[in-house]
Symmetry: none
Subunit: 214 residues, 4 copies
């Protein structure tokens, strides 16, 4: 099992590199095998098929993300700070693991199965952390009770993901600093959810905030 997991790991690493370089569709299983130093058929001893290999990359990286996120948030108590830490952690991972990020951000979307059939429960678990922070902040009276944690969670992820995609796609142009994006996004959502925030003229959602001043 030691050798087994070793070979499995090598195949996943090879897949990340190959998929990041050519894209999922354009990558050949035989290229992954060659890069991993195994025979084509060996891939199928560890993965059901090509798509399963891609999903396994996803699962493995999400496991790492989940563990890393817990560490990044441990010791941070204030929900507003947790949001900032979340954004910094997530985009820091994108920056530090560009190939893996490229596969997750871009290539994963090329899998029909991923988009239409697969239930990315590990992504949900990852984002559930954000929803929990929101509810926590609401319970503490820091965040507006009208904020829908479900919508906020996907919005936050969508914002980070889109910036990550733009950063990854900026192949040759000088990439903008992801830390800056992380702080901007975190600031936006923290202010956007915080009690005491001013709304627009007819900000019905924030009806509660009318009496609040600066």
């Amino acid at each position: 099992m030691d050798r087994r997991s070793d070979k499995r790991e090598r195949i996943i690493d090879a897949a990340i590199a190959v998929f990041a370089e050519n894209g999922f569709q354009a990558s050949r299983v035989s290229d992954v095998a060659k890069r991993a130093g195994v025979a084509d058929g060996t891939i199928y001893l560890y993965f059901r098929n090509k798509e399963d290999l891609l999903l396994s990359v996803f699962e493995q990286k999400m496991d790492m993300l989940l563990v890393g996120l817990e560490q990044a948030l441990s010791g941070v108590d204030d929900p507003r700070e947790q949001i900032r830490a979340f954004a910094r952690f997530h985009l820091g991972q994108v920056r530090d693991n560009r190939e893996a990020a490229e596969v997750l951000q871009v290539e994963l979307r090329q899998s029909n199965k991923f988009l239409k059939e697969y239930r990315p429960e590990k992504l949900w678990a990852y984002l559930a952390v954000f929803a929990r922070i929101v509810r926590d902040g609401q319970a503490r009276g820091l965040f507006l009770p009208d904020v829908d944690p479900f919508v906020a969670m996907w919005s936050f992820f969508g914002a980070m993901d889109e910036l990550a995609v733009q950063w990854v796609l900026a192949r040759k142009a000088p990439r903008f600093p992801l830390e800056h994006a992380a702080d901007q996004i975190a600031g936006m959502f923290v202010r956007g959810m915080s009690v005491g925030a001013p709304g627009g003229p007819d900000a019905s959602v924030q009806s509660i905030n009318l009496s609040e001043g600066t």
Copy 2:
């Protein structure tokens, strides 16, 4: 030219329907042709290849979006209201053109060319409207000067896009109301950018805004 553009339109409409039903990869050009009521070869009189057909769907729909957006924003003066109108318009379009949205949200992302080579200038023009609103609001003293319009623009789009994807992908589950998501997202960003917003404990970005009023 009348007949030409007529036929081109029919092919694009057929492509949207077929791609939405089967997915881009699984769709055969001959199916699109059959649905459009033309011969296979005719497709290639109007589009370079299958992928060009997909990208043309994108271009055509973005043209419609741009025109619609201008209308939706015309007569709205307050930047905060403009953001709300933007969100409602965008997600309203997703709701009212589910097939097209499915193609743009899901299938388009599976095109390597789109992701890696194509420069979606019409999308940039669309989003530039948001950046302009942000700058306008900053000029009027309504929005925090520290907000980066570039990051805000992509965050806003990412948030809406992610919600749209989740809505489109919720094939069988009861879809949540997109109007609700639109208002939530708009409120989040309006509050998140507005002067007078409270920040977190060490909200360095907004430190400047303490003395700013509406």
Copy 3:
């Protein structure tokens, strides 16, 4: 009919140029039409199909060759001189009409119909001139009676044709002088057919050459 033949001519000329540049198979009828300045469909008012167009090029050029050959041989009486004049004329045409030669030498062979079904009667007429010269020489006692005019005719044509192909194919390399080849070939066949020629040690064919010796 004046305009007709004018347009027909323009199409044939365009076909020669296009076929010489791209090869017959790779040439598109629409390219010939474009070069001739007519619509695609117009081609089919003058030629049954693409292959008929190629064969028409052949026929037209063979007509010109036949006329030219008669002129080149007129006034030449000695069969040995006629052979020399034939070779010079033929390879001179190749040199002076490289595009047409290229089509005849190379592209024509890409037509299955030409090779397998078409009976190139004009080529036979052209070569019959050579056979006639041979028989004339034999009647005059200049050429060996054992020489088979049929074999000699095709050998002569094959030799010239092969040299022409090599000259045409030598696209970039400095082409060798065709006049030299013409004289060499003519000399070879004249000597090879002439009475009094020495044969090999057991030259059974030339049993007549009693005086042969090394």
Copy 4:
């Protein structure tokens, strides 16, 4: 490697049969595969594409020709006899391997790549044997020094080739005996190159032949 080369051979043999029957263009790769008893895709494990398969037929047959030619000439010393043996061998091969000859004589010529890009080095090696014989004969004083071995070589090949084509193409008509053609061609070239041959009246090339006459 045994099995590999075995399968490669089977595919080439199948290709010869199929190409000879239907012509190269009209033959389907799947037909070759079926005849060889392999799957379509297997063809592409041994050959880059359909055209490469055709060129490989050429290479393989040329290898066989080269070996056979050496054998046919071994033990023959007199250059005049060698030329006769060459012609007999070559046309004997055409007669004994009609299908292969048909492919080489007719179908190969329809390949643009063969005609315009491919450098048929094996053909050159084959013909170089002829040029060597000529030079040998000249060195021995048997052949006229004015004969250009390059032109003679291509002329000889062109003559044999043309006769072979005519023989192959005479699908229904009773084929003429190739042995007769071989002897005729050999006799023609031997006499045409031999010292002591009579020339035409102004046979400048043969200035050496002072004693010409009947």
